[in-house]
């Protein structure tokens, strides 16, 4: 993509570092990654309620953007934006954003709801994949601890709504959340938002 010498730098195994904050100069990954900041905050550290995306895994970011692009995941705006990028550009932005630190939102939550959400999370077997607090070791399973409650609520309501497109990887959530009441979904969102 760049000249040969820079190619050597990248090939020398500095790829991950070169994708970080931007002080390595204006790489294509940085330039495209910084365009998301107007809605997702500088380096993806959203001040909310749009989701924090900095520090999500490269795999999840890339598959999510690909799903928005091909219309297999509903969004109010992300589908329209996702269609603007090539697969290569999606990989670039995903690398860049995955290299940023996760910054949990400062989210006011109802402590009672969060407590209730914690119970539902355990009782429904969500912890099996998402870990006890919404932090999963698996790269295909996004971090939810410190994610914005409004966003998580909307996302879970889409899982419950059979008319909304969701990616194949999320079908399990559709099955598991469909019997869960709207109030309990709110409680789950409050729990994840408050988790550390």
């Amino acid at each position: 993509m760049y000249n040969k010498k820079l190619g050597v730098v990248l090939a020398a195994g500095l790829l991950a570092a070169s994708a970080s904050a931007g002080a390595n100069g204006p790489t294509a990954a940085a330039i495209v990654g910084h365009t998301c900041a107007g809605c997702h905050g500088t380096l993806g550290a959203s001040v909310g309620p749009a989701p924090v995306i900095g520090g999500l895994s490269e795999m999840y970011l890339a598959s999510t953007m690909a799903a928005y692009k091909d219309g297999t995941r509903f969004g109010t705006v992300m589908e329209r934006l996702g269609r603007g990028y090539t697969p290569g550009e999606i990989l670039d932005m995903s690398k860049f954003l995955a290299a940023q630190p996760w910054v949990s939102g400062k989210i006011p939550v109802d402590a009672k709801a969060a407590e209730k959400g914690k119970t539902i999370h355990s009782a429904n077997g969500c912890a099996g994949c998402h870990g006890p607090t919404g932090i999963s070791p698996m790269p295909n399973t996004p971090r939810m601890a410190g994610q914005y409650a409004d966003y998580l609520y909307f996302q879970m309501m889409d899982y419950k709504d059979a008319k909304k497109a969701i990616p194949g990887a999320a079908m399990i959530m559709r099955n598991m959340l469909t019997p869960v009441s709207d109030d309990d979904v709110k409680a789950l969102a409050a729990f994840y938002a408050s988790a550390k």
Binding site: S18, A23, H40, G84
Partner: protein, 427 residues
């Protein structure tokens, strides 16, 4: 600029391994101190300064802004609607100073675009290696006969947020039930294409909450079509019945003259006497850019749309409302991503890296009520003709006829946009 020399190569490799824990790495050694001066600290300039510094931490970046505090135009319509106060629109530059760039509160009076020397009202003279010019807009006083600066004290434009916003708000609050509020909307191109129509909705919200249900809002437009028109028409009707009426140019909406004393807007066919008259007059690029020769006949600044370098001067970049950017509207989000492309190109020139491609995005949210939002989004690329156009198949408006849940979500995400974009600018 194209190939990297050995020193740059070593520097880059050094930088790549020196990534700090807070995400703002230090460049190692032997770096030249390039100087960059950014003029104007708004949606474009604040971002240009911040991201130049982020890309090249050891560059000397100076931001010159004439005002001590920035007042955001975006979300000033929500002040008219009674949902926000001016405080929530007001920001200082302390956050940017913490990032190690210099903020000079001063007015730029002149620029030598060849030697890149900037002269300020405070008597300073700054010479830079690169200039990024982002002075926003200037109203063309007198472009509508009768509408000059004094007229704006009676019939406010409120197209630059601040005292004008408060004046219009006061007039709306004092308007009687059954009164007529007229908004005069300009022809393209102008700052914030959906702005006048969002404003109509916000004013309708204010009047409705105040119980003035018989009041009318009339938009007299110099155009025959406007941004997100189908969505606005749907949303006005849903939220406010027929309080808002739009009159396009060929329907007799083009205003030929303003009589501010009697609050009358005169079209070819009719005189509309209003209780409150909001005139959004035609404008052009920020005065300083015009003064120093960065404009063409259109009154705006032509740039290489892949880099935002001025077509009039080397090493001088123009971003935000002042520049000509193909299909991109004059909006805060457009200004944000243009500024980042200019910063990347300045950084690329300093570091000896070639920038292959610009990445440019826009989204304009409009809040028609506190729980009713709509948007238009775009991702852009430079066409073979050098002009920015939508990437095929991308972007567009929120769906017409969407369920209220979608409108509600977009109101939440519209506020989120504002929160995030101002934090991108000022922290």
């Amino acid at each position: 600029m194209s190939t990297m020399n050995r020193r740059d190569f070593v520097k880059l490799a050094g930088a790549a391994t020196a990534v700090g824990t807070v995400g703002f790495p230090m460049v190692g050694f032997g770096a030249p101190k390039a100087s960059v001066v950014v003029i104007g600290g708004g949606y474009a300039g604040a971002i240009a300064a911040k991201y130049t510094k982020l890309y090249v931490p050891d560059a000397e970046v100076t931001l010159i802004e004439r005002k001590k505090e920035y007042i955001s135009h975006p979300f000033s319509n929500e002040v008219l609607g009674g949902e926000r106060d001016m405080k929530s629109l007001t920001f200082t530059y302390a956050g940017l100073e913490k990032r190690g760039l210099k903020v000079l509160q001063d007015e730029v009076l002149d620029i030598d675009i060849v030697s890149k020397t900037v002269k300020t009202k405070g008597g300073k003279s700054l010479k830079a290696d690169y200039l990024i010019v982002a002075p926003g807009i200037e109203i063309k006083w007198g472009a509508i006969p009768g509408y000059g600066q004094e007229a704006a004290e009676l019939a406010p434009h409120a197209w630059e947020a601040g005292p004008q916003t408060l004046l219009l708000k006061k007039q709306i609050d004092a308007m009687p039930d059954g009164g007529l509020l007229v908004i005069v909307a300009p022809a393209n191109p102008f700052r914030c294409p959906p702005g006048p129509y969002e404003r109509a909705a916000q004013i309708a919200a204010n009047l409705t909450h105040a119980g003035k249900k018989k009041a009318k809002i009339m938009i007299l437009d110099a155009k025959d079509a406007f941004s997100k028109q189908a969505l606005f028409t749907e949303g006005w009707k849903h939220n406010y019945g027929d309080m808002i009426q739009w009159v396009g140019a060929s329907g007799g909406g083009k205003v030929m003259e303003i009589d501010a004393k009697t609050l009358t807007a005169k079209t070819e066919f009719d005189d509309f006497k209003a209780n409150v008259l909001n005139v959004i007059p035609p404008h052009r690029c920020g005065a300083i850019a015009a003064k120093v020769g960065l404009t063409d006949d259109s009154g705006w600044c032509p740039v290489n749309q892949a880099t935002f370098e001025s077509k009039k001067a080397k090493g001088v970049y123009v971003v935000g409302d002042s520049c000509i950017a193909g299909a991109m509207p004059k909006s805060g989000y457009a200004a944000n991503t243009q500024a980042k492309v200019a910063a990347a190109n300045v950084a690329g020139a300093i570091l000896g890296m070639k920038i292959e491609k610009p990445f440019l995005t826009n989204t304009c949210y409009s809040l028609l009520a506190h729980d009713y939002g709509i948007s238009v989004a775009g991702v852009y690329e430079v066409g073979a003709d050098g002009v920015l156009a939508d990437v095929k198949g991308s972007g567009g408006i929120s769906p017409v006829g969407a369920p209220l849940d979608t409108r509600k979500r977009e109101s939440v995400y519209g506020v989120s946009w504002y929160n995030n974009i101002v934090s991108d600018m000022f922290t």
